[in-house]
Symmetry: C2
Subunit: 704 residues, 2 copies
Amino acid sequence: MESSNIEAVFNPRSIAVIGASREAGRLGYDVLKNLIDGGFAGELYPINPKAEGEILGKVAYPNITAVGAPIDLVVFAVPASVVAGILREAGGLGVRAAIVITAGFKEIGNVAGEEELKAIAKEYNIALIGPNCLGVISAVSNMNASFANSMPKRGKIGFLSQSGAVCTAVLDSAETLGVGFSHFVSTGNKAVLDEAELLEYFLRDANTEVIGMYIEDIAQPQKLAAILKAMRQAGQHKPIVVLKSGRTEVGASASASHTGALAGKDEAYDAFFTQTGIIRAERMSEFFDVLRAFDQNPLPKGRKVAIITNAGGPGVLATDAVVGEGLEVPKLCTATQEAIVPHVPAAASTANPVDLLGDAPAERYKQALQIVGQDTEVDALLVLLTPQTSTEILKTAEVITAVRDTINKPIVAAFMGGATVKPGVDLLTQNGVTVTAFPEEAAKILATLATFAENSATVSDEVFACVNINNVKASALLDKATAGGRTGIPEAEAVEILSAYGFPTLTSVVVKTRVEAEAEAKRINAPVVMKIVSDDILHKSDAGGVRLNITPDIAGDEYDVLMATVKANRPEAKLDGVLIVEMAPKGGTEVILGVIKDPALGHLIMVGLGGIYVEVLKDVAFGVAPITPTDARRMIDSLKTRMLFDGVRGGAPLDREALIDALGRLSQFIVEHPEVIELDMNPLLLLPKGQGARVLDARIIVGE
Amino acid sequence: MESSNIEAVFNPRSIAVIGASREAGRLGYDVLKNLIDGGFAGELYPINPKAEGEILGKVAYPNITAVGAPIDLVVFAVPASVVAGILREAGGLGVRAAIVITAGFKEIGNVAGEEELKAIAKEYNIALIGPNCLGVISAVSNMNASFANSMPKRGKIGFLSQSGAVCTAVLDSAETLGVGFSHFVSTGNKAVLDEAELLEYFLRDANTEVIGMYIEDIAQPQKLAAILKAMRQAGQHKPIVVLKSGRTEVGASASASHTGALAGKDEAYDAFFTQTGIIRAERMSEFFDVLRAFDQNPLPKGRKVAIITNAGGPGVLATDAVVGEGLEVPKLCTATQEAIVPHVPAAASTANPVDLLGDAPAERYKQALQIVGQDTEVDALLVLLTPQTSTEILKTAEVITAVRDTINKPIVAAFMGGATVKPGVDLLTQNGVTVTAFPEEAAKILATLATFAENSATVSDEVFACVNINNVKASALLDKATAGGRTGIPEAEAVEILSAYGFPTLTSVVVKTRVEAEAEAKRINAPVVMKIVSDDILHKSDAGGVRLNITPDIAGDEYDVLMATVKANRPEAKLDGVLIVEMAPKGGTEVILGVIKDPALGHLIMVGLGGIYVEVLKDVAFGVAPITPTDARRMIDSLKTRMLFDGVRGGAPLDREALIDALGRLSQFIVEHPEVIELDMNPLLLLPKGQGARVLDARIIVGE
């Protein structure tokens, strides 16, 4: 899609409204009226085969060809059956963009109709929004190409929503929230343009500084991830806040692996959002709060919050909330405290929270805010107000606004109460100061700002460079294991495939002579197990064909003893040699690594503590493949049992680097072998630092 | 305190305002004016030595004695220095209650002044609120004895707050929230009446059905717990919702035990609230939401929620939220679905959520609500509305109100949006229908109602009946171990003390002959260790004085061998016998049990998974001593590792009953030995079901 054509969705020079109507209450009337009322400055062409003369003061045409002038954008408000024909006509006329408000496509099972629109849009390179949507509003272009009858205030938020109802709710809330929008898109069925293209447009758009989206799924996750990465590398790092509904139950019924059983709920999307730097709001109120906060505040430099209050109890509540969100409420420095002292009564507290006392007038707030605002050790301010007898609510709101204008720091006000504080809340909202009813919401907002600022500062494009991969051999083994349509690959073969791919496994080799046995045992240089190799012997132990814990120095003798014993016990058997297998090293901790294919987002990589704790604790972390070393470290660090990796109670720290390498290798393996739909390495024995890891057991399942 | 006197705080026949003033803006003016404006129907006596004639139309008196008529309640609005004298005078006159708004007592270090008030109140049996408070408002008595200038609407909520600022914020929010109050108390310094007495009053009070409190601490936790238990046993089970600020860092610096290190933050209060059936709100917005929900709704019979919506996406968000809160969104039964069908378009969904589609008029909501409301399989309703083009917002609010009046089920509306939905929100609020802006808050409210209903149905007063306790012996051992001021009791002695108290420990006994050795080994009936007992032998193993893994059948022989070996190796040593110790059984799981004394709430009992997982997972649960069997079970069930107790991957289930007994025994032990300030049993080896448990190691610390 050429970006010049998506531009025509938001900033067209001319618009034709297909199905424009004179009849109030009809879709084609609402859309045209909204375009006129919104103040769109370009040309507007009502199109209606039955209309003559003017509609709403604009000359109407029977069809778009009759317009006889260039049309950038067509907006469809006609029945589904006629859309394709007119879209093709538009394509022939060089129309660059279309908004198909019309419903009646894929959402009611009319897949063919929707495919036809896609084909036409592709043929004529038309940037198409919808079908089945509310429309598009661009406050930047004064364009309300929707049937929502309110035009939001112009602002910095680019918004897209998969639900028309969420669009209407957000538009209706905008004034109450004090936020404005650059562009507002109801994406509908996303037949052509989806999140990926729209986010790219918003990220490039100079009018958009914050992005909000409500989605139920992501149309093209890999494409979206690639776009976000490219934009990030190009320095375009705007906050993207998402509200996603619906839980995916990955393979809930059919899953045969541990990994599959653990990847329930919404882990895939959580991992995707984390990896792509998208901020996920947990609830709708938070979604609005966070969008507003980014819209209204600069990013903080750190996590240090100063709390200014006129009430002690709420000050403690605020401190609890701020600390609970992972921020800090440090004691203010002596210089700052001393500067405040002359402006407050003796009983006031200047440490942090700064308690101005219940009778604090606006002037006291002003002095404290100015002083604390200038303190370079303070990264953000939380201003609490409770409506006490002498509280100057409006004046205090003015003071906060004025101070906000002089400091380049986030400042969030919590005005607690109802009717009495409302004038202050309204004033702050009008002035674009973030205000909440309660300290907890304010704390959450400040935490989200701080976390985004930190993540922006530490974007990494480091990639894995795993060595010692023989993918030719691994592929051959995988092909062999799945020959004849077999889908479940059992332990021995799975471990062999992983070994070929460079995963650390227990060394094993078949020897046929005493000399070979001695040489291989010496090479392995650790205790080994010897097992007779013979198709004729089922129960090897019963035949004396297994010897444990053999060190290199006795390997030759043991080989001779084993062969002699088996020959004596089973003289009829054909012996094919002796398998020497490294014994699993002592120490270390069992870890589980896995892969599960999510139907929506592709392959998920999983890591967690192994053994019975996989089931008991379900303490696992996910990443969407491919993952980066940063992702791998984050996954490990997000485990509740992460302390184990650093060594507990004097125990040796484990080989974290070996685990990170295994995660990277697994990611690469799954990218090269997408036919694998489930994989468990359970356990991977993670050894003390410097000693690596060993895959002790594995299972691979490939798709049909 | 006689309840007849606390009654005079809320429902006095006559009130004297000490310090009544003619000067607007003065405390004594505000209080008198508020009493008059509030419509108090009893006698009002302004008291001021300088006043003559009338104040605000009421005859003023120079002092209370001059009134010459009975006074039930005195309200103090005079400087701290004169309060005690007048309070004593009031006591002499038979005044039953006092509200001391006056500040300047304990909160500024004037402990003596506050102690004096307490003494006078005690001497004259005066029910006293304050000092240092905002006052008391009783909507039931039309009495505003405070300096807050708004009288809340009469309702069912009894409210108390330790913070005057929180009082003003709540009063200010009341109208916005649509809630009313029976009584409203600012508790101030709680010199005489505290949470315990006030909650008891509210629980008995027929005008109060829901109780809210904001606290920073609990003055008398044991008394409060006892009152709540007694009231619960008497069938008085009203919802009590608490917002508590401030985190206790129990022994954060000085703690020497694992238990102490783990009992940080607010676990003590969390445990206290859970055990006493108090509902803790996590945030201020939730506090208001939950109070309102109890005020406005009956309790649900179960967890089944029907969601009715005019928008699909928000319906999914609501489902996510409801399920996320532990409620159910079951498919509606065929009969209900079939009853809805005639009233909705074909594209509507009748399963659950019931999606009435974006063009749903009020009538469609009405039909669906009536039908679903009558479904006996539905316990509660969540009604979603988004403001779409044809949405009838006010009418739908009326419909919801009307249906609410006909069904005895909780019904919470979520009207999403701002200005457009506001008239509907206001109407619902005025009509006492719980309404939120977002589905997540609605879901949380319904979950809180359901949980309270369940807990009310399962109140248990079951008590522990631990047997085999020799407290005389345990006390004697404890005294001996702490003789000479020793505070830390090491392993051997600690285990002996616990053994005397009936905790299962490894059996040990000293024998002096082969016959005794055989008898004791047979009695223990498990493998034992034999160790030589001799003050002369430091390194017992080196002297051949330790023999492991001895079964009863060889105990005699082993005794002889051991004695002979030691005599041969160390002929000079004096031998005092042989210690026979049961070996720790195989199998089972290590658990940690502990006690830590919280400065505010007393002894906390802790249980969790032992071993290195104590530190790695910090997966422990707390209870405030004494605990009940219900508490013990709840503590175990709240562990993330609880699955371990039921047996994992074919492993045997553990002896839960033994663990519950140990918790009960520990609770009883600590109640009888409150001088113990820390105790760790780490590990307690919990064996497979039927095999009990063994204390393998223990440590006890007593207070100075």
